[in-house]
């Protein structure tokens, strides 16, 4: 027990969390320095750690492995820490202790989860990411953010509960809590799969992303976009690599959010849908499960965190300056915010996978792997999705915010620290695209792969440029759907409308039934209506103050029950 402290201290996750504790106590003017120093220190520590298992501690008879450094976990931890550094820079101007603390705890929990060598440690950090991240939503301090935050929290915690139950059942079946390949052969494996699926935003489990991310603070959205979903992707890669079902799920995931993204008006929500679609690429890669495909998933996650972060940063800067992020109200901002516009375009080019940008060198690995393994439907889906990405993230986001018709906003350029963060991220996006060798070097598997063949470059350019041409044609001919205010139904309709409606239906019919009974039998029925509030509200039957007589009757009943049982 004594040396666990030593082992645990060596964890980059704990460096971030201790840093968060420091920020909670330090005066305001020191926050900036710490926000940058802590992730950098954690990153340095990560790369000092030798490959292998560390930080074994015993807890309640389980041997936990709190620190597993191997190719797969290291690349994820690395990009998380880089992301933490960049978002720290982006949020430097924010004067809100809560946001800084929760951002660091959140990042620390995500890093800890990625480095977890067993399911219990994973569960602990898994829940920690949920709890830490909700503060970034609440920090918007609007009533809507409060409601959305609670909804988000409940969904995240359900994922954690499933993970825990799955872990227990898995342990019961196999006697092991190691977090290695799990597969879908056991019920425990299924439960954990669903738990991962919730956080990875599988189709129909996805809506919390679009619900919650756009409600967070300006910097909170950027931070949220980095960790939770990619942590789930890592967990899938670790536990379910090569699971056929993932190819189908991933293919659906790449396609269906596109339609929503095309007609969505809130640009941060557009990006949230596009996030979903990008996750689909990674899920397909994991489903294929060959070394090349897994490398592709890892590399794509790496690149994705950067360009998606960059896009959210630029939209955040627009929201910060203009006060709205609705496509229907924006336009012409390139005049006021030229740097932000330029960085946004770099992000768009990267996500659309133009050659020389980061998306190209990573996404093509997944497509190549799909082709090599002859998953032609999935491959076509990814191809179609690539064209779709060009529309919603490549064209729609920069076009409607910075170009299109001038909406008349005359604002200042984004704050310097935001520009620096965006600049650094943009530089990384281009750097990876131009010179991918360092990224390839830290991928989990040794695979020879070269993205810059003439075939690849030409085919990709053909695909993208003709899609762009299609945009021009559609837009000029007036067929392109205009940006209008409104919200679009998604799967959250199920629990925000359908379930309550069913509930109301049941309640109403019960109430009607009650009315009939009441008419006949007086006050016999008391079970209808807002059952819970009736029962547990402050003056509800179960929770209000009873008279001592009623209390004692209950006690007598209890005594009688015991005596009867014993009789």
């Amino acid at each position: 027990m004594s040396d666990w402290l030593g082992h645990a201290m060596a964890s980059p996750a704990l460096v971030l969390m201790l840093g968060a504790a420091l920020i909670a106590c330090l005066p305001r003017w020191l926050h900036g320095v710490w926000l940058l120093v802590i992730p950098a220190a954690a990153l340095a520590l990560l790369w000092q750690l030798p490959m292998g298992l560390h930080g074994q501690i015993g807890l309640f008879g389980f041997d936990l492995t709190t620190l597993r450094v191997d190719g797969l976990s290291r690349i994820w931890a690395t990009i998380f820490l880089i992301g933490s550094f960049l978002t720290g820079l982006y949020a430097l101007h924010v004067d809100d202790r809560i946001q800084h603390v929760s951002a660091l705890v959140y990042a620390g929990a995500a890093v800890g989860a990625v480095l977890a060598g067993d399911l219990v440690t994973l569960f602990i950090y898994w829940e920690a990411t949920a709890i830490a991240s909700v503060f970034l939503i609440w920090a918007s301090r609007t009533i809507k953010a409060h409601i959305v935050g609670l909804r988000y929290l409940v969904i995240q915690v359900i994922s954690g509960l499933l993970l825990m139950m799955g872990t227990i059942i898995h342990y019961h079946a196999t006697g092991s809590i190691a977090f290695d390949h799990l597969g879908l052969a056991t019920p425990g494996g299924w439960l954990i799969f669903v738990a991962f699926g919730i956080k990875a935003a599988f189709p129909l489990l996805h809506n919390w992303v679009q619900d919650a991310y756009p409600e967070a603070t300006v910097s909170g959205t950027v931070i949220l976009s980095i960790y939770t979903t990619k942590l789930a992707i890592y967990s899938l890669a670790r536990g379910y690599a090569g699971t056929e079902a993932l190819i189908t799920i991933g293919a659906v995931m790449t396609i269906f959010p596109i339609f929503f993204a095309v007609i969505e008006n809130d640009l941060r929500r557009v990006l949230a849908y596009s996030l979903n679609n990008q996750l689909g690429f990674m899920v397909v890669g994991i489903g294929i499960g060959t070394p090349l495909a897994l490398n592709g998933a890892a590399a794509h996650a790496f690149a994705h965190i950067l360009y998606k972060g960059l896009l959210f940063m630029s939209m955040g800067a627009v929201l910060h300056r203009v006060g709205t992020i609705k496509a229907s109200e924006l336009g012409g901002l390139y005049k006021s915010m030229p740097w932000t516009a330029a960085f946004c375009i770099v992000g768009s080019m990267s996500i659309s996978a133009f050659p020389l940008f980061s998306g190209f060198v990573t996404k093509s690995m997944i497509l190549t792997a799909a082709a090599e393994n002859h998953h032609w439907i999935a491959w076509l889906a990814l191809l179609v999705a690539s064209a779709g990405v060009l529309d919603h993230s490549g064209i729609k986001v920069p076009f409607f915010s910075f170009f299109h018709h001038d909406a008349g906003f005359r604002v200042r350029e984004a704050p310097l620290n935001m520009l620096l963060a965006m600049g650094a991220t943009a530089a990384l996006c281009i750097g990876i695209g131009v010179y991918p060798a360092p990224l390839y070097a830290i991928l989990p598997f040794d695979v020879e792969y070269s993205p810059y063949t003439s075939t690849h470059v030409i085919n990709q350019l053909q695909l993208l440029m003709f899609a762009a041409l299609a945009f021009v044609v559609l837009f000029r001919s007036g067929l392109y759907p205009p940006e209008v205010r409104g919200l679009n139904l998604d799967s959250d309709w199920l629990y925000r409308r359908l379930l309550p409606a069913i509930g109301r239906g049941i309640r109403d019919s019960v109430a009607a039934l009650r009315a009939r009974i009441v008419a006949g039998l007086g006050q016999l029925a008391g079970l209808a209506g807002h059952w819970l509030t009736d029962a547990f509200g402050t003056n509800g039957a179960a929770a209000r103050t009873w008279t001592t007589g009623v209390m004692l009757l209950w006690v007598t009943a209890l005594l009688a029950a015991y005596l009867l049982l014993y009789y």
Binding site: I168, F536, T538, T545, M551, V555, L558, L565
Partner: protein, 498 residues
């Protein structure tokens, strides 16, 4: 002299607060009474610690009151089980000392303050007595001492609703106490002894009689009432809500815990596991009641508008957790229940203290009244957050340790349904703790605040709250000593390797 002190310690730990109480009355001054309370409770805590160590070494410390040899005289017995609960009771009492000074002063008229401390000492003496005694009837007497003083303490609450709350508690508590008395009488009738160890020896001969069966039923129901186990819990929310803040913290952390201690002292030590859980179906009944408590308590908690009431309802739920552990009657289950009993005492004590500090400032305890206090009282709010996380069971806090232990015990016993309910209850606890945290940090201070002149809570309240929070974190990080001690206690209660 020193050896004499050590030899007399088991009785001194009761006698010191008992004698300090009239001293408080004689002192007649608030400050002097407070000083006496602090000294007595700290001394009791020190002795409790020494007794704990002694019990660890010797296994069991026995003391014959007045040199009357047991089983005829009253025997005091301290084993690890009682020593742990004793540590909790005296520890919380000792921490309440510094807390109570300002908190009590803000809620109770100055001329009655000294009486509060006298009553707190009496209550403490009663609670300590319950844990150390090895005599069934003596336990009843101490239980009534602690209950009577807590009725009076609760009635001192600042709102008039405190009066009826206290009266209802009095009726329910007295009925519970009388049931216990009947139960003890029935088993005394069959065995002719009141010494617990002696009872354990003699009861097996008369297990089959109706009298003993009825005796067990009366004792279990009587102590369930005192422990606020569903459906006998209804006195608790009001009593905790309307009591003065310091009293809420003290009683919430100790009184029901000690009642659970007594319940399982009877069930395990006196009646024996085989009889109560084997011959009679007590285990399954308690488990069912515990499961209902968990869910219903948490649900009710979510709907509360008053933070103290919210915490009180959460206590009902948490009592369910504790009883669920004990009701398994496996070494792992009992030790988990015991650990949660201790940890929950610490958590609830800390939370009630944090809320008490906020009440001290805004003079109200509804969630809306606490809006925006995260900025006005950063330290107190931070304490509430950490305590709340511990209540939820977030890793690195005490709550995690005991919930984890409970989960694994339930899992080993293959009670998957209860396990699922426990998980659901934890989910619900996130929601009700989240509601308060959201109000503290993400809502603005109301504009009409007349309480800007106060800053953070006074030092004494801060120190007390943070002491309990610190203990929570220490246990969360380094739980081995507590877990080992609990395992020893469980082994002595239900057998099995420690």
């Amino acid at each position: 002299m020193i050896t004499a002190f050590f030899n007399q310690m088991p009785v001194l730990v009761v006698v010191v607060p008992l004698l300090a109480a009239p001293l408080c009355v004689l002192a007649h001054r608030a400050f002097a009474a407070w000083l006496i309370y602090c000294l007595a409770s700290w001394l009791a805590f020190a002795m409790a610690f020494l007794l704990f160590v002694e019990a660890k070494i010797a296994g069991e410390v026995s003391y014959a009151v007045g040199n009357w040899a047991p089983p005829f005289g009253i025997e005091l017995v301290i084993d690890t089980y009682s020593a742990l609960v004793l540590l909790l009771v005296t520890g919380v009492a000792a921490v309440t000392g510094p807390y109570a000074r300002k908190s009590i002063a803000s809620e109770i008229a100055i001329e009655r303050e000294y009486l509060v401390f006298a009553l707190m000492l009496l209550c403490l003496a009663g609670l300590i007595g319950i844990t150390v005694t090895g005599d069934a009837f003596n336990l009843f007497v101490f239980l009534e001492i602690s209950s009577l003083s807590s009725y009076a303490l609760i009635a001192m609450g600042p709102k008039r609703r405190a009066l009826l709350s206290s009266f209802q508690y009095l009726i329910m508590g007295t009925v519970g106490g009388t049931f216990l008395l009947i139960g003890i009488g029935l088993i005394f009738m069959m065995t002719g002894t009141l010494n617990m160890a002696d009872l354990a020896d003699r009861l097996p001969e008369v297990y089959a009689t109706r009298t003993v069966q009825a005796g067990l039923a009366f004792i279990v129901v009587g102590l369930s009432l005192k422990a606020a186990l569903m459906p006998a819990h209804i006195w608790l929310p009001n009593a905790y809500t309307y009591a003065p803040s310091a009293i809420s913290a003290f009683i919430a952390a100790t009184a029901t815990k000690v009642a659970v201690y007594a319940l399982f002292r009877f069930v395990f030590t006196v009646f024996g596991v085989g009889y109560a859980f084997g011959t009679l179906p007590l285990g399954i009944v308690l488990l069912a009641l515990a499961a209902v408590s968990m869910i219903a308590g948490s649900l009710a908690s979510i709907f509360q508008t008053d933070v103290k009431r919210l915490l009180a309802w959460s206590s009902v739920a948490q009592m369910g957790y504790i009883v669920a552990g004990f009701a398994l009657a496996t070494p792992a289950g009992v030790s988990a229940g015991l650990v949660h009993l201790l940890n929950h005492g610490l958590i609830k004590g800390a939370l009630f203290m944090a809320v008490g500090a906020m009440v001290w400032r805004v003079r109200a305890s509804s969630i809306n009244d606490l809006a925006g206090l995260g900025r006005a009282m950063p330290l107190t709010s931070a304490a509430f957050v950490i305590g709340g996380l511990s209540l939820i069971g977030v890793p690195a806090t005490a709550g995690f340790i005991s919930k984890w232990a409970l989960m694994s015990a339930l899992f080993d016993a293959q009670h998957y349904g209860v396990m699922a309910l426990l998980l659901v209850a934890s989910l619900l606890s996130i929601i009700y703790v989240g509601r308060v945290i959201e109000a503290l940090y993400f809502r603005p201070l109301p504009d009409d605040v007349s309480h800007h002149k106060h800053g953070e809570a006074p030092l004494g309240m801060q120190v007390a709250t943070w002491t309990l929070i610190a203990v929570n974190i220490v246990i969360g990080v380094h739980a081995t000593p507590e877990l080992e001690a609990a395992a020893r206690a469980a082994a002595s209660l239900v057998g099995g390797a420690p």
